[in-house]
């Protein structure tokens, strides 16, 4: 039993390919955990949703590289296996 890891990535397919078990879909390469165009409040809320999804991912058992999407209706823990 190792230490569970959740990785937030804008280019999530790359993370899945390289063997990361819990991958959370980030926004863009320039701003992975938010979107400054949303303005400070919504940017913060969006970032919080991404981080919460990541924390939930840490508590989720997975059997291989799995994508977690913060945009899906909360709580986002629908796991999609990488192709």
């Amino acid at each position: 039993m190792g230490i569970p890891v959740a990785m937030i990535s804008a280019i999530y397919n790359l993370a899945l390919t390289t063997g990361a078990n819990r991958v959370i879909r980030g926004a863009r390469i320039e701003h992975v955990c938010g979107d400054p165009d949303l303005g400070p409040e919504k940017d913060f809320a969006y970032g919080l949703q991404i981080v919460r999804t990541a924390l939930q991912a840490l508590e989720t058992d997975v059997s291989g590289p799995t994508l977690f999407d913060p945009d899906e209706s909360a709580p986002a823990r629908e796991a999609v296996h990488a192709s």
């Binding site: 804008a10 280019i11 397919n13 390919t17 390289t18 879909r25 926004a27 863009r28 390469i29």
Partner: protein, 429 residues
């Protein structure tokens, strides 16, 4: 679109009273050319130095190498669009080139001020590094140039590259009224319709997302470096320098793009082995998975609409740009276009695959070796007698100290043979 390329081979270069080419000897009027460079008020310092193959010389840092070319007949100018040059569509008429000579852009001007992307390309004119870098076997006229430091970074980049093009233009102009010793016609003639229809998909890194630079850093298309949709080129446009500009690898200089062996080989086999349909330039380093997949899909769509049955795919970068490239390959294969992928490989001893995202459709790969130069067994590169450019070279993983450029030095970080110039041999095991 018919283009005649007239080649003037250069066997030696000397400084002299007049810029002229005669029987392979290129004479360069140094002072006159430097006056032209210095007449741009943005230029603070400029000098010209010669470096010849076999000399114990290191050129540091190298931002670009340009082959002197000039349009003698037909519309437009060579290397169009960049540095405010004419954007008239090129590729027709007659173009002269000086072969065997490079105009080297030597300057400390950074690409941008966003961090990263350091200048680290250098040329050795002798020794092991020189043997695998194509531009090391040229007679290199080095333009050592620094702009007014008070200018913005884009203006400094523009001024420095413009200085190099000024020198290149002056050299090539010496051939305008002479008959070229060698001539070659490039034309996409009607061919036997049963020949396989092939496109060349040329993936070009865009700096837009990382540096915001609109035009002055990275290989440009008619001067633009932005993220653009897939762009269809006639190969003649590329031979006239429509895809050009300073870049951060030794294998994607302006000289490299104009002498791309993958492009030239494909073109020369048009009508014999292939029906060459054209070149699709696809920009990479979009910053979401969606954008990367969309640009891949759209590239494959353009290829399909052209009627392609086969595609040669190359790229010029590393890292996340690979997604656009490999997904383009996948989208082509899924729409029935067979692909061949020319690429270097990552270190096979790490945990990541040698290709970042291996897809089953990538079943025809031509490898040009590992891109990490430290795996080539060249360390350390021997010291040299003379340095052109900066005698001090930034060093260390943290880039926190300077060492004498004359060396000895560890091999450069990357060896990126994007277009198959390779002088390396390989074994399969």
């Amino acid at each position: 679109m018919r283009l005649e390329i007239g080649t003037f081979p250069v066997h030696d270069v000397v400084f002299g009273a007049q810029t002229q080419w005669r029987d392979g000897l290129l004479e360069v009027a140094r002072d006159e050319i430097l006056d032209a460079v210095r007449s741009d008020p943005r230029i603070a310092k400029a000098d010209l130095e010669l470096a010849k193959p076999g000399e114990s010389v290191r050129i540091w840092p190298v931002r670009d190498v340009v082959e002197p070319r000039v349009k003698v007949e037909g519309p437009g100018v060579v290397y169009p669009g960049i540095c405010g040059r004419s954007i008239t569509t090129v590729g027709e008429g007659r173009t002269h080139r000086l072969s065997g000579v490079g105009v080297v852009e030597v300057s400390e001007t950074p690409w941008h001020e966003s961090g990263g992307d350091h200048l680290f390309v250098y040329l050795d004119m002798s020794g092991p590094w020189s043997k695998i870098i194509p531009t090391s076997s040229l007679i290199n006229l080095c333009v050592v140039v620094e702009p007014d430091p008070n200018l913005g970074v884009d203006a400094r980049n523009d001024a420095v590259h413009n200085a190099v093009l000024t020198v290149s233009d002056r050299l090539a102009a010496a051939t305008v009224h002479q008959d070229p010793p060698e001539r070659e016609i490039f034309e996409l003639t009607d061919v036997d319709p049963s020949l396989p229809k092939v496109v060349y998909i040329l993936c070009l890194h865009s700096p837009q997302a990382m540096s915001g630079s609109p035009a002055t850093f990275c290989t440009s298309t008619y001067g633009l470096t932005q993220l653009t949709p897939p762009w269809l080129f006639h190969p003649n446009e590329i031979l006239d320098g429509a895809i050009t500009g300073p870049y951060r690898t030794a294998f994607a200089t302006s000289w490299t793009m104009a002498n791309n062996p993958a492009l030239l080989d494909l073109y020369r086999r048009h009508g014999t082995d292939f029906n060459f349909l054209g070149v699709i330039a696809t920009r990479t380093e979009w910053t979401t998975q969606h954008e990367k997949e969309m640009t891949a899909n759209q590239t494959a769509k353009v290829a399909k609409m052209l009627g392609a049955e086969g595609a040669l795919i190359t790229w010029d970068a590393g890292g996340n740009e690979f997604i656009e490239v490999i997904r383009t390959l996948q989208a082509c294969e899924r729409s029935g276009i067979k692909t061949v992928f020319l690429t270097s490989e990552d270190d096979p001893t790490g945990s990541a695959p040698t290709l970042l995202e291996p897809v089953p459709e990538a079943d025809a790969i031509v490898s040009t070796s590992f891109f990490r130069a430290d795996l080539l067994g060249l360390d350390p590169l021997p010291p040299v007698d003379r340095v052109i450019g900066n005698p001090q070279k930034i060093s260390g993983r943290l880039r926190d100290h300077y060492v004498p450029t004359a060396g000895p030095l560890p091999a450069p970080q990357r060896y990126d043979d994007h277009y198959g110039f390779s002088k390396l041999s390989s074994i399969e095991y």
